[in-house]
Amino acid sequence: MKITLKLYARLAQYLPAGAAENQARIELAEGASVNQVLEQFGLPPAHCHLVLVNGVYVAPSERPQTALRPDDVLAVWPQVAGGGWPGG
């Protein structure tokens, strides 16, 4: 099955070759878990702070048993924040 993997900020360096604009279509075995993908691409677990499947947060404890489905979007960020415009 294919899913979309999106890696942002400093994690972009872990995207496969040929990826553009922070994302890549990747081929996975049916039923692969979130954690399997993170491991497959060598993402350091400590840096996988915000892990979203189709925009929904997956807590670290759920990542091993959360199975991905075809065309899911898995997006990952290190710890980030913004919030805004400190002029306001």
């Binding site: 900020a9 915000l50 925009g55 947060y57 980030v80 805004g84 400190p86 306001g88």
Partner: protein, 615 residues
């Protein structure tokens, strides 16, 4: 000690500048800056005054840590009754101006009345002088700063000024210092313009003392180490700035797009921090040049950007070829997604012009988005716009209108009304995406429920800087909560509101709270000030400030009915993303919030609450 102990009262009508001692009792209760100046304002003006009348006052205030080596200790606020909202306004700015005021020996400046002719205040240590500003009237913020520095022959003078927008009463005009740092929201610049006050120029050489220099050094050094070790304040914000959020908020389905018609923007990535780092195909250079810190800041989230000289916005306009303040998340959103525009260079240009002319990019972009929806509906046509095709996604319209709005010319004058008045004028008040007349920032409360309550209850109208529950609901700081749930959000909002009010009163930047709690801040304040400052005392200050602001607004005529959201967010479900099918469930959160605050069902603070807080 922390406080300079002295404030300057400027009667613009009389042309007098009078020093007076800082009210020490109030300082002990309200700390400084936002809290303390709000106390002065609430005590000194009738809350019912017309914000743009001479009876309103305009206060520039620093906090006790402003001008010290505490990380981010470089802030000041402008406090007044806001014209956009009719509520108390407090807009916070960084850069170098606030510390300069403190270094000149002043905690705050209170402007009263209205000058007969345009003036600016020149303050050099103890010397205060109102200088005729007829030649500066009509000038941009940037030109004003250069002219004042040249006139007084001191390039180190710091200037806080309005552009033509403030002079002309653009309802979201702001006050800009150091090229691109602004007391941005609620139209404080229009109040300044209504007083015929062009600028406040400051030069200080007296310095800031703290109660216990050794303890202060230890506390601030520890604080800096904590920020440096934190992945957000030590690396994330430093490297990517706030606009790292663009893709995050889009992914969670809370990026307001095309005047909140949509909650996800297909062009989000093109205007994100990641894109700012990439080389442009046109000239091979990145939009982002460097990061910049405000005074004392060890985070340095500020962006410095440089445009592609060949871009249509600046071709043949070399005055915009240098680096200047780049896109923060809110601005990238408001100038971009809110109007459906994905041209990073055009957004950066618009951002430059917002700073140059002194308008709030959030309210400007959101108002442009609302106008585009009216255009899309056929309510506004090229007849009204003077030929401008106001289509969603038009970078050309953005570039043209940011300049017209900054100069309050043509259709820019209409946009200068702000979305509430503009939409009402064209018969569609429901299309103004605002609370109490102030436009939303960059989070759709259908996808982040707590932000709905944040916006509805914010004392200065819709605002993310009063309680940033996004930190918890999306970013997992300090703990992750479910953005689509309403349970527990009332308590979360109250906690964020009180803590933020305390930080805003200290002279520090609220961004430190990504790495610090009040437990990190209290020792720094305690070392700077006499009287013993603990986390609990700061929380008390925060709650006191919040209730003081609330009391002001109630006295100004606002009621619980104003604690609400536009119909669209309460009734039109999100179309895509995780929040698809959801509306904001404010009704589930608001009563609980009132109760937690110790307020009546009508949102009025109970007697016990007021007594407990010494109000």
């Amino acid at each position: 000690m922390g406080w300079a102990g002295k404030i300057l009262r400027v009667d613009l009508a009389k042309g007098s500048c009078t020093p007076e001692p800082l009210n020490a009792k109030w300082a002990a209760e309200y700390l400084g800056q936002r809290g303390l100046a709000s106390k002065y304002l609430a005590t000194e003006i009738d809350p019912k005054v017309d914000p743009l009348s001479p009876a309103n006052k305009l206060i520039f205030a620093t906090g006790p840590l402003t001008g010290t080596a505490a990380s981010t200790g470089g802030r000041y606020s402008v406090i007044t009754k806001g014209p956009l909202t009719g509520a108390i306004a407090c807009s916070n700015s960084g850069g170098y101006w606030g510390p300069e005021l403190k270094n000149a020996g002043w905690d705050m400046i209170i402007f009263e009345g209205k000058a007969k002719k345009p003036v600016y205040l020149f303050l050099e240590d103890d010397r205060a002088e109102l200088v005729p500003a007829g030649d500066l009237w009509g000038q941009t913020v940037w030109a004003t700063e250069a002219a004042i520095r040249a006139k007084h022959q001191d390039p180190q003078i710091r200037v806080s000024a309005i552009g033509k927008a403030g002079e002309m009463g653009v309802m979201f005009a702001c006050i800009v210092n150091d090229q691109h740092r602004a007391a941005g929201r609620s139209g404080v610049g229009a109040v300044m313009g209504s007083k015929n006050l062009k600028a406040v120029a400051v030069r200080g050489s007296q310095g800031v003392r703290v109660r216990d220099a050794k303890a202060f050094f230890e506390a601030t050094t520890k604080g800096k180490a904590t920020l440096a070790a934190n992945p957000v304040t030590g690396q994330g914000l430093t490297t990517y700035g706030t606009n790292i959020l663009m893709n995050v908020i889009n992914e969670v389905g809370a990026l307001p797009t095309r005047n909140h018609r949509d909650v996800q923007f297909e062009g989000a990535r093109k205007i994100s921090a990641e894109a700012m780092h990439e080389k442009r195909p046109t000239d091979g250079k990145a939009n982002l040049v460097h990061n910049q810190a405000c005074f004392g800041c060890t985070i340095a989230c500020g962006r410095m950007s440089q445009l592609d000289k060949g871009h249509f916005t600046v071709v043949n306009r070399p005055q915009y070829w240098g680096a200047s303040g780049g896109l923060e998340y809110e601005n990238a959103w408001s100038l971009g997604a809110a109007a459906g525009i994905d041209d990073l260079e055009a957004l950066t240009f618009a951002n430059f012009l917002c700073n140059e002319h002194g308008i709030d990019p959030i309210s400007f972009g959101a108002t442009l988005g609302a106008a585009m929806e009216l255009y899309d509906m056929g309510v506004i046509t090229t007849k009204e716009t003077g030929g401008i095709e106001l289509k969603f996604g038009s970078a050309q319209a953005l570039a043209t209108l940011v300049e017209l709005t900054g100069k309050a010319e043509g259709f820019g004058k209409e946009l200068g009304l702000g979305s509430k008045r503009l939409c009402a004028k064209y018969g569609h008040p429901e299309l103004s995406m605002s609370v109490k007349g102030q436009e939303f920032p960059a989070y759709d409360s259908r996808g982040i429920q707590g932000m709905g309550l944040t916006y509805a209850t914010s004392n200065r109208g819709a605002c993310h800087l009063r309680s940033y529950t996004v930190a918890s609901e999306v970013l997992g700081t300090p703990v992750k909560t479910d953005p689509l749930a309403t349970e527990g959000k009332a308590a979360l909002v109250k906690a964020f509101q009180d803590a933020t009010a305390a930080v805003d009163s200290s002279g520090l930047c609220v961004f430190t709270t990504f790495g610090w709690t009040l437990d990190d801040i209290a020792p720094q304040i305690d070392a700077a000030l006499p009287g013993g400052w603990t986390t609990q005392r700061l929380l008390d200050v925060g709650e006191r400030v919040w209730n003081l602001e609330r009391q002001f607004n109630l006295a100004a005529g606002l009621t619980a009915k104003d604690d609400t959201l536009p119909k669209r967010l309460l009734t039109e479900p999100a179309k895509t993303g995780p929040a698809k099918g959801k509306v904001n469930e404010l009704g589930k959160m608001l009563p609980e919030y009132y109760e937690l605050r110790g307020w009546s069902k009508d949102g009025v603070p109970n007697k016990d609450t007021l007594k407990r807080l010494g109000l």
